[in-house]
């Protein structure tokens, strides 16, 4: 069984204020996660704003350094003691998908430039191989390389751009793709296209995903495991179906209770004359 993700005592404390009067904010409070599996998995980290889920993603992507603790993704130590050098090894193992697809690319560069760069610099391919890899990755997300070539961010819709972003993350064949709120800026009716894509990529391409979101419904839909965070603390963790149907922690219960579903009403509808 491969250890896909393991964090031990992960802490992140921000200090706000001046020398004399400062305030501590515990963005991550002793996070211990252990995910082991033979097959690729999708782990969701759900929580509201301020829960620390984005900080966790940034820590695992090494955009933020933890105050203490360690984290490992497959064989890569990404935080804490013995951290692997920030280079091709790390970039080839962990790749991100960001929330805002329009911000994820410079508007002065054609988006496929990033894909080619990833292919040559991270995956180490030569030019011909890179072209193939880019076309293959784009095909895997349902886009034609011809339609993407030479175009800039404002020539795409949000959903398409996010798919380009996913394609780029696929190129170096990473062990784990960390997606930080990948669909929250996409129109609700088109979110499932991306979510279904994650599932397809897990099953067919064998990629594991860490899916950070505040939307429990989509998390439920594709996750194997769910981690619930609140105010920097991990309050519940377990197989997705179990956590959603039989939540142990009161916060998880509160969260599930508050979601407006289209199945049961909070208030029974009195028969009103139209």
């Amino acid at each position: 069984m491969a250890v896909i993700l393991k964090t031990t005592g992960l802490n992140k404390v921000y200090r706000l204020g001046s020398f004399t009067r400062s305030r501590e904010i515990r963005a991550l409070n002793d996070i211990n996660i252990h995910v082991e599996s033979d097959r690729p998995v999708i782990v969701s980290v759900v929580g509201e704003s301020g829960s620390g889920k984005t900080t966790l993603a940034k820590t695992l992507l090494r955009l933020v350094e933890p105050s203490s603790g360690t984290a490992t993704i497959y064989d890569n130590v990404v935080a804490g003691k013995g951290v692997t050098k920030l280079g091709r090894d790390f970039l080839g193992a962990v790749q991100p998908i960001f929330q805002n697809p329009f911000e994820a690319f410079s508007r002065y560069r054609p988006v496929d430039a990033y894909l080619h760069e990833t292919a040559t610099r991270v995956a180490g391919l030569d030019k011909a191989q890179a072209n193939d890899a880019v076309a293959e990755a784009l095909a895997a997300v349902g886009l034609d390389a011809v339609d993407v070539r030479g175009k800039y961010t404002n020539q795409f819709s949000g959903g398409e751009l996010q798919r380009v972003s996913i394609a780029r993350a696929l190129i170096p064949k990473p062990n784990l793709i960390i997606a930080d709120e990948p669909v929250s800026m996409i129109d609700a009716s088109r979110r499932m296209i991306i979510i279904n894509l994650f599932r397809k990529l897990k099953e067919e391409a064998g990629r594991s995903f860490l899916y950070i979101t505040h939307d429990l419904a989509t998390a439920y839909y594709i996750s194997d495991f769910v981690a619930v965070m609140s105010k920097g603390t991990l309050v519940e963790f377990g197989p997705a179906k179990e956590v959603m149907s039989n939540p142990q922690h009161s916060y998880t219960r509160l969260l599930l209770d508050s979601i407006p579903t289209t199945r049961t009403r909070w208030r029974p509808r009195a028969a009103k004359a139209a």
Binding site: P96, Q99, S106, T118, D144, N154, Q155, S157, R168
Partner: protein, 308 residues
Amino acid sequence: MSDIRDTAVSPADLAASEATPEAKPVRRDRASWLWLLNTRLVLGLIIILIFIVGSFVLPFFAPHDPAQQATYMKNLKITPAHWLGTTALGQDTLWFLIFSIRNSLILGIFVGLGISAISTAIGLSAGYIGGAYERIVMLIVDSFITIPLLPILIILGALIRGNNNFFTIGLIIVIFGWAWNARTIRSMVLSLREREFINMARFSGAGTLAILVREVFPYVSAYLVVGFINTILFAINTEATLAVIGMSKVDVPTLGSIIFWALNYNALFTGNVVWLVAPIVATITLFLGLFLTSTGFNAAFASRRGVA
């Protein structure tokens, strides 16, 4: 694969259909520079173009070295032979003016390039690299900013009076003028550094230099254009101010030195008003052209920012 593929739509529709009505329509013809042109910019560019072409091309047709004194009769009025009359030193005013404009422009462009290059390099690196490097660099930058340029130049001018090489002045202006722009660029980079596409570039394997050049630079380029033009204005102005008070190498014809000589020889009292007024009008017009171009670019870039 085909079930998640979007139907093929033309690029214009792709952009427009996703846009809410409030968003401005996207112009996808990047080759066309039409979006740049607004009245201000066109007017400014025309003025500058006239000055540049006039002052760089016409000197080839000058009959004599205009700085040479006693070439003609002194203080002549406007005649067909001398379109702006002559100076009290026996020089043709018009030719002297043309050469002055050329020299001022050369100085301005030289200083503009120098300041732009230095401030860009320092601002970009300090803003992006951060850490101790940034702190040390910004300490130096702030020190330079607080040093007032004009008093320094006056002191230096007084110290090495007369032996001033014309380009020494330019060099000094560069040395004391780069700091302000560097600070502005560094601020821009600080905010750019937090943006998502920088992280994307890092995860695409780009190194620091590649990120600075390919990701960050395009976003500051608009400011650089405007900054460059403003620097030209600043440089010409500073040199002219120095020349008028006699601190510069007044043998070399520049806009400032004409005014210096005209004042020194009491042009107003001797009735040779043209000698004084012509360079002033030329200076004002040149500055107007530079100002219009600078704000015109600014307006054009700002209007583009609303798009995409």
